[in-house]
Amino acid sequence: MAQDGAVPNPTREHRIILRYADLPGYTPDIDCYLQHGGYQQLRKALAMDPAAIVAEVKASGLRGRGGAGFPTGTKWGFIDHAKNRKPVYLLCNADESEPGTFKDRQILYKDPHQLIEGMIISSFANHAHLAYIYIRGEMARGARILERALAEARAKNFLGANILGSGYDLDIFVFRGAGAYICGEETGLIESLEGKRAYPRIKPPYFPAALGLYLCPTIVNNVETLCNVKHIVEMGGAAYAKIGTPNNTGTRIWCVSGDVCRPGYFEYDGGAITMGELLYDVCGGIRNGNRLKALIPGGSSAKVLRAGEVYRIRRKNAAGAMEEVEMRLEDLPLDFDTIAASGSMSGSGGIIVMDHTRDMVECLDNLSAFYAHESCGQCTPCREGALWMRKVLDRMTGGQGRPEDPQLLLDLAGQIAGRTICAFGEACSWPVESFVAKFREEFESKAVAKEEQGRLQATH
């Protein structure tokens, strides 16, 4: 049971978003949701002024859970409702395709009404009358669950015209992607929803809050982010802000996969648990009695961290003054800021663990195959560079490495990041830069031709 994180860790875990999802007997039906207090926050929100809800979300300090950690209230504040004359759209990013991330799927499949309630409140707060859930195409089952849940919500007038007699109208529809990772990037998502190839738009000017869906103001938020809004309305922004640490408020769902004994997803207050505690106490340590070699802390685009590393972290101490402390990888408290200070990012919360038997060139080759496949192809540096890096890595794992390869990889990665339309450019070069820099010796030893065939790519 605990294998997939289905049972909350009784000691430390603090489940808000996943509070009911794994409860025995809890179903995605609306009746079950209502029995557990569902849609009470919607009633509360509809009695509030939309601007007051935005103010609560700002006060809560909520940061987006989709990857970049942008403050949600600030994003919502970009739309000037006094001036705006166009329709506003709210889009839920349920594309969840960042390797290592598997939290949103749990929410969608097990507690869809929590998301729907969060979306209705968020739509109301942003004056949106039409919202879409962009769900990745592979989750056909999730799309069916959501459609059923939306029909249930409509039947009870939580959706539709004049919701609960408030005079507010809203509908939400499900839109299925079709297998392209770039649809998770917010402007790619918008293009896809407009019936086009998911080519990201250049920002500026295409910040969704100004020029989003059909060039109207649009809010794009992640599944977990939108669920949090419901709880902010419930407890109030100030109370929510007390959970976790300043700038890392609320809980976060961490997904752990790879070489640990008990992989799974776990919800903790911001900064309440360290990397070491999560890996060793919660996930049972490294599997097969092996040792930790490296981990990627925030989905596959995040820079890799190496076992034994020590980081100099600048942070505010209790008195509010800045201090610099030394921390080992295991001591890093899990939050946005500390992981960023370690030189990586907490991104989407997906932690991928590699044990000491793993070949880092092969692991990177695997990830590079992903990026080479998923580049949308608009920008030459990304399209050509991602494929080129993959070819070099394939060659190295195939035993045909050349002495210049490690440097070639670094040069290629350096030519992509910062030169592209969207952040995919960084996403595909950060793993390469960090793997080569931190495991230089392995890349150098593979940079000499020898008969070898990668284990992770043996059949590809």
């Binding site: 592979e138 839109f175 079709a178 392209a180 990772y181 997803y265 990830l367 790519q457 059949t459």
Partner: protein, 181 residues
């Protein structure tokens, strides 16, 4: 074009009223732009007929008042859209890191061997010579914590093994036997 002069499939020349009704319902969900219904209609067609023929591109573009290229460019961009039928049972195995660490590449090889999926059908899809089975790699399926992840048609499987595959094959044989009887 999609594929040279494909014959219509049975039923494809007459799209039943139910199909038309579903299509209209989908279009109704995008009041600001019919074009937004492109991908949903492609999904609808593929669910009904298994793959997207030239006729699909024509029909959808006419329905939405678009040029065929607007639909065709989606077909060639999105990996889930197919212009050829895949096997009667299609295995999608996750190839990305967490699953690879848990042996998904070995599983892929086992499925290929078990199903005799030896014919490379482009885009990394392998099909058995009689067209019964196909196997393909897909990217991370958002089930990395219970790797390896696999999909069979639209059903998701976690911690998949060759035993899972055997069970699925046995079940499908039973179903067919029952239908044949």
């Amino acid at each position: 074009m999609v594929a040279p002069e494909q014959p219509l499939l049975p039923g494809e020349e007459v799209l039943g009223p139910e199909f038309e009704r579903k299509a209209e319902e989908i279009i109704g969900q995008y009041p600001a732009s019919r074009r937004s219904a492109s991908l949903p209609l492609l999904h609808l067609w593929q669910e009904e007929f298994g793959f997207l023929s030239e006729r699909a591109v024509e029909w959808i573009s006419t329905k939405l008042g678009l040029k065929p290229i607007h639909i065709l460019e989606l077909v060639t961009f999105y990996p889930m859209l197919h212009v050829r039928p895949s096997g009667r049972i299609n295995f999608k195995v996750c190839r990305t890191l967490s699953c690879a660490l848990a042996g998904s590449h070995e599983l892929f090889a086992q499925i290929r061997a078990r199903c005799g999926a030896t014919v490379a059908a482009g885009h990394g899809i392998y099909v058995s010579p009689d067209g019964s089975y196909s196997v393909e790699f897909v990217e991370c399926l958002a089930a990395c914590g219970s790797a390896p992840a696999m999909m069979v048609d639209e059903e998701e499987f976690e911690r998949a093994t060759i035993d899972t595959v055997e069970r699925i094959l046995a079940e499908s044989r039973e179903k067919e036997a029952a239908q044949g009887a």
